[in-house]
Amino acid sequence: MPHLVLGISSYYHDSAAALVEDGKVIAAAQEERFSRRRHDPSFPAQAVKYCLQESGAKLDDVSTVAYYEDPRLKFRRVLATFATAVPYGFAAFSEALPAWLSWKRRADDTVRQELAGLGLGPVPALSCHRHHESHAASAFFPSPYESAAVLCVDGVGEWATTTLWHGRDRQLRQLAEIRFPHSLGLLYSAFTYFCGFKVDSGEYKLMGLAPYGKPRFADVIRKELIDIKPDGSFRLNMRYFAYLHGQVMTGRRFEELFRGPRRSPEGPLTEREFDLAASIQQVTEEVVGRLARTVRRLTGERRLCLAGGVALNCVANGKLAEQKVFDEIWVQPAAGDAGGALGAALSAAMERGASRAHLGTGRDGMAGALLGPEYDDEEIRGHLDAKELRYSRPEPDALVREVVTALEGGRVVGWFQGRMEFGPRALGNRSILGDPRDPDMQTTMNLKIKFRESFRPFAPSVLASDARDYFRLTQDSPYMLLVADIEHSKRVDSSPSAAHATGLDLLRVPRSVLPAVTHVDMSARVQTVAEEDNPTYHRLLSAFKERTGCPVLVNTSFNVRGEPIVNTPADAVTCFMRTDIDMLAIGGFLLRKEEQPAWHENGDWRTEIPLD
């Protein structure tokens, strides 16, 4: 009888479910992909159903449900915060307290009720795991390391905002922590908010903005906002922040410090936002770097595992890898709170004697993060027929050849294959692909497909065996979580006039033989693709290399801005028909845009999808 653990994260941001069988990850998915609500925080009913369906198990077969945080401990933190933020926090207090009193403080009971409400049978016993324990477990247990140092940095769960651990075999031992309100994640979010982006999702944009600016505020941040000790531990100066007593991140003093109000969300980006982004990025890298050295010293380990929302800062991760603080680092692909569902499940499984079966195989236990639903060709065909779309079904090799021909001709291709990715990145199963050598590709994809601002760079997928010819990587980056510089031999000299370009004008200066994926600072957010992790995608990259000599493709997530990554064939077809994607390769089928009938929808989807 296999030992099944169901992990759940919910009610804050990006709910998810994960299923672990005898310590092996069977399935994991975020609720947003099913509900089509980005970062959906509600109970992950559909993700739970999917996980059970994937394993063929009933709820009754699950021995434990593992919840990703301890709601009672979190409630105590919330109370302590309200109590000591007096007398300024009444608005936040009266807004939040009723929900905390009625259900949030016993969110685990709510989870139990929701599970019972699914009608899938009796609900198994439920255990709560602390938020950072879940992050640490998601970082260490699926890693390919027998022992490692573990660093988790995020916004906040219960009290901890930064934790240091030592992982050995099936055990995780916590060494130290930093507690709320002192939080690197919340500091970064405060700048995200101040620069006019959405907290909890705009952090990525802020990071993308950083290379356009100069870190001229870094000293002010270090002097006024954060006191950083040599070991990387820190405290924030709470006089500048509003998240203890208000419903926003920053207040009047913050505005005075940076000479002006926060940028309004639709307002223009100015030099100040570029420089703020560059400054907070530099401070973040400094803190993460110091903490990494500390956990190395405390554990004596040569390998590091990372999780928590801050571990999605792939620029900071790249610096860490480049500086060789550790021989190697491994980042949980779902480093944010969705990964907490997986971590809680793994933690519960290890407590109950499960093993880390992937150890010794030289691979990690994440199966390339391809842990979501898959649809067979019959299901796909049924959907294509229902929508009266025109398609062909070439042999697998011919399909790859036709896709390569389209890509080489400057076409944009939707690529829908196999199981959906777990975590925020598309890794070649729900991706939109293009030719990175095409100087117009970045603009085309941004404006015609994603309908978004043009300052954000795209990520390259590269054959793992060729990665070091193009990127200055010190290790593989299977989950697109390390940024690396373009190899010098692949850069191109820009004209003298280009040397004076600033801000967004930098975007128009050619920089390398891969213009679509080269950021203005010569960096790229690389995904290395190994055959073992994703044979189908590897075959496509190999074929593209065979034809063009270039082992790299532009890989962006299969969605438009503000929408979650597509999950089902229906989602993919809708996205394909709404946008200027030229070709769709879905399972064994190939669709060309010019052959399709006109697409009709009720209402205007562009106004229905909220801006991200």
Partner: protein, 46 residues
């Protein structure tokens, strides 16, 4: 009604309690400590 109760509770009970609490022992440890080597809280195992 509920908001009124919360209002009275907040300003008559929580505010004096919270101010005192924070003076005696700030659970949020807001103070900077220039003399300290580290802000890390070590976790003890038994």
């Amino acid at each position: 009604m509920r908001r009124g109760v919360l209002f009275l509770f907040y300003f008559l009970v929580l505010t004096p309690f919270g101010l005192l609490y924070r003076i005696l022992h700030d659970p949020l440890r807001r103070e900077f400590r220039p003399d300290a080597q580290s802000y890390l809280i070590r976790v003890r195992h038994h």
